[in-house]
Amino acid sequence: MEFLLQPLTLVIFFPLVGVFALLFIPKENKDAMRWTTLIVALITFGISIYVLTMFRAADVNLQLVARYDWIVVGGWNIQYFLGVDGLSILLVLLTTLLTWISILSAWTAVEERVKEFMIFFLLLEVGMNGVFLAQDLFLFYIFWEFTLVPMYFIIGIWGGPRRIYAALKFFLYTMAGSILMLLAILWLGIYGNTFSVPDLIARGGIPVNIQMWLFIAFALAFAIKVPMWPLHSWLPDAHVEAPTAGSVILAGVLLKLGTYGFVRFNLPLFPEAAVSAAPWMALLAAIGIIYGAAVSYAQADIKKLVAYSSVSHLGFVMLGVFALNPEGVAGGILQMINHGVSTGALFLLVGMIYEQTHTREFRLYGGLWKITPVFGTIYLITSMSSMGLPGLNGFVGEFTVLLGAWGAGQNGVFYWGGVWLAAISALGVIMAAVYILYMFQRMFMGPLGEIVEEAKKHGRPIRDLNWREIAVIAPLVILMFWIGLYPAPFFNLMAPAVNHLVGMLPLP
């Protein structure tokens, strides 16, 4: 029982209660399923809040640790090892938050096979929280791979016209990346005779040339997930085809698994390799920022634009992480949260309008602000947050990231890259304005678009948000303002852990 009542165990596995409950709800009773899932997700969120209250930011060690031997036999030393620290606490909260928001957003959007949808969603939550909390590499890997399965189904069953293609592509790309990581994990397990991350970090001493290989194996897995340029080509497909709730979780949390992986594993486990890889990773990040922003601008499909903007945003995260200084890393982590909140919200909003119009083509939209003022305003706030307007969350993250990157460039962390990487990346700020404003203008400004007339003709005139939809989006909007105006609590949560992490690196 002690095992089951660990708060972190509960955060991860409580959704399974919902899964079991759902199995016994008859197929026809869709509302009961929705409510069950929502309540379970809300309770999980509550548990994560409870975890937050137990969390002491000043402590750099893992907290609320649950550690039991799992497979300790025949040369194996695998533990059920959970723990939370400043690097992961926010991401856990983000996951539990976005899960119930997504479920609420799928209330009317998913009418077919509701039971399976909800089951997959809860399973996905299990996997995501598991990834953030697992401190044993093997356990981590299991959760990591496991997240693919429900997402695969969510895209493949409830997605758009090319869903099967997108789902397969998603699955294969991410699997292709992570499976090499498995080998690296096994190598580490053999090397250290343990899979426990803290123990491996404490042990250290991996020869540098091997570190390089391991770093690459891990980085490949994470970079595909992030996705870093040029490994991003699965993302637009997956986003465009995924159902709204899927896109939200995909953008909001799943991509963070990759960036989180860099922070959690690549930096402390392979410090020398991380330091020598920093300029290259930063270069890829910078290219991603610019490339993603430019390509976003040329999209005709709203979701694709947002998807490519993720490439750009996550470039910022990566840039921050590989700045290898507290500003950059903390900014990167905060930017993960920000991206989850903002892009998650954008996908939610796009989903809300898509539900009414069934098209995502810009050219059919226009002047929506006039008929949907609330929607327009929230969309505006979200867009601004996404493009990093000061006062909203996006800015705080981007600024600290760029600040960190500039410092890294000045202090030689980027070697040949210098401050140029930061300077070029900062251009992304301008380019973000270009594509975000383009999107906002095309959808909400200008004369009324064709789609408005069309909707009217079909007897379904476009309506403004209803209360459920506002409830779905409100927490995210509140977060945007909160992080934007008063980010101190967020930084304070992670600062000691980040400082500790950066302190381990053999910086030049």
Partner: protein, 480 residues
């Protein structure tokens, strides 16, 4: 012969007597009640299994060193007997449905199991050869069991011709080993081989023996019979032989190589490496374009032979060999469970006259039969090697052994081919979940029980693999 000799092969002996008795009893069972034969066969297997388990901890040689009783053999015998039980369970309804229900089926299945068990216990090349034949001949017959079906006959003939062909190589290989070591006893061969520098004759013989086993386990390029035989044979037979024969083949291969040929590692490691890599690559790649589920699973089974073969590659490294053999054994369990489960689902969906076997026939399964679809998904995911299934644990174990042995490139090939395998396994899932269709399936208690239980085990055991790990690791310790 002493009683002690006899007890070393007690489960085998019991099963042999039971099989002979069943042959007679079957004559008195009316044609429409052959289910009784099935139950009796299962009873025999169960009794034998009971005795097998009672032998745990026992460890000796028997019949002048011709058979060995040790953790390894007990482990594998138990596994083979479980496979036999599952084979009976799957056949029970299937034969009736396909109108090929005859008592000989179960008798032959028992005899084949006897052969398989003897392979696990054999410590002499003669026994290995004879056991292999005893394993194979019933399988030839079983493959052609649906005589009304041309494919079944074709499967039987091809399997037989190529099987006999490979036997020729095996015998020749044994002949050369005999020529080099002047004995057929594995331990004596080891002594002879270690005494001097490696005789090329011995290496030549070992290579041919490897070829013979390679045929049995369907390693590329000795795999060509597999897809045809698996597709043509009645599905219940395919399920049985894809597990049982493979387990037996690996059992013998392991014992021969580790007991007798460890000094040959310098020659054989590269060969095994190549076989393993080739098998993984070819099996997985050809599987991609299959449209028939049985054929697809056949190639999948080839590919898995490649994965298991990986465990053999570091066999000459004394420090790693225990781990790698344990990994191989563990994967055999994983493979047996998952594979039987998948075939169980295939049997549930199959209809008479070869309908219901295309992968497209699985469209819409999830909507109408969610449990079956979920089970199949679990099996497919496990075959890919994804959490939370045994497949992942098994593969991880294998890769670890391989990395431990220093064969990182092989491990990389292993993981890359796993990605390729995701293509075709997921196609089944895609059809079940993401396409519409109206498949009709067969519900029957033992069938449902089989796939249901196996699906459960596939997930459940992956969460607590400790016990299985412990078994697998202890199973090999006794070998040395």
């Amino acid at each position: 012969m002493t009683f002690s000799d006899f007890t070393t092969i007690l489960p085998v002996a019991i099963l042999a007597v039971w099989a002979c008795a069943l042959l007679v009893v079957d004559l008195f069972i009316p044609k429409d009640r052959k289910g009784v034969t099935a139950l009796l066969a299962a009873l025999g297997l169960a009794i034998s299994l009971g005795y097998t388990l009672s032998q745990i901890g026992d460890e000796r040689l028997g019949f002048s060193g011709m058979v060995a009783l040790d953790g390894f053999s007990i482990f594998l015998n138990a596994l083979i007997l479980v496979c036999g039980l599952l084979g009976v369970a799957l056949a029970y309804d299937y034969l009736k449905r396909m109108n090929i229900e005859r008592g000989e089926y179960y008798v032959l299945l028992l005899f084949s199991s006897i052969g398989a068990m003897l392979m696990a216990q054999a410590a002499d090349l003669i026994i290995i050869f004879l056991a292999l034949e005893l394993l194979s001949i019933p399988l030839y017959v079983l493959s052609a069991f649906a005589r009304s079906n041309v494919s079944s006959e074709e499967a039987g003939l091809k399997y037989f011709l190529l099987g006999a062909f490979s036997s020729g190589f095996l015998v020749y290989g044994i002949a050369l080993i005999f020529g080099a070591a002047h004995t057929t006893n594995l331990y004596a061969i080891l002594a002879a081989a270690s005494a001097s520098t490696v005789s090329p004759l011995l290496a030549f013989g070992a290579a041919l023996v490897l070829v013979g086993f390679g045929f049995k386990i369907a390693a590329v390029p000795f795999h060509m019979w597999t897809p045809d035989a698996y597709q043509g044979a009645p599905t219940a037979v395919t399920a049985f032989m894809s597990s049982s024969a493979k387990i037996a083949g690996f059992a013998a291969l392991l014992r021969v190589f580790i007991t007798a040929f460890s000094p040959l590692a310098v020659n054989m490691t590269d060969v095994l490496w190549g076989l393993s890599a080739l098998t993984m690559v070819v099996g997985n790649i050809i599987a991609i374009t299959q449209t028939d589920i049985k054929r697809m699973l056949a190639y999948s089974s080839i590919a898995h032979a490649g994965y298991i073969l990986m465990a053999f590659v570091p066999y000459g490294n004394a420090a790693v060999a225990p781990v790698s053999v344990a990994a191989g054994l563990f994967y055999l369990i994983v493979y047996a469970i998952t594979n039987f489960g998948a075939w169980g689902v295939v049997i549930a969906v199959e209809r008479t006259e070869g309908k219901g076997l295309a992968i497209s026939d699985y469209s819409g399964l999830a909507k109408n039969h969610p449990a079956l679809a979920a089970a199949m998904s679990i099996f497919m995911v496990s075959l890919i090697g994804f959490p939370p299934t045994l497949g992942l644990v098994g593969k991880v174990y294998l890769f670890r052994a391989v990395i431990d042995g220093g064969f990182v490139v092989l491990a990389v090939i292993g993981v890359l081919t796993s990605i390729i395998s995701a293509f075709y396994y997921l196609r089944v899932v895609v059809n079940m979940y993401m396409r519409d269709g109206e498949p009709s399936i067969r519900r029957e208690f033992w069938l449902d029980f089989t796939w249901g239980a196996l699906a459960f085990l596939t997930v459940f055991l992956s969460l607590i693999p400790q016990t299985l790990f412990a078994w697998a690791s202890s199973a090999l310790m006794k070998l040395f």
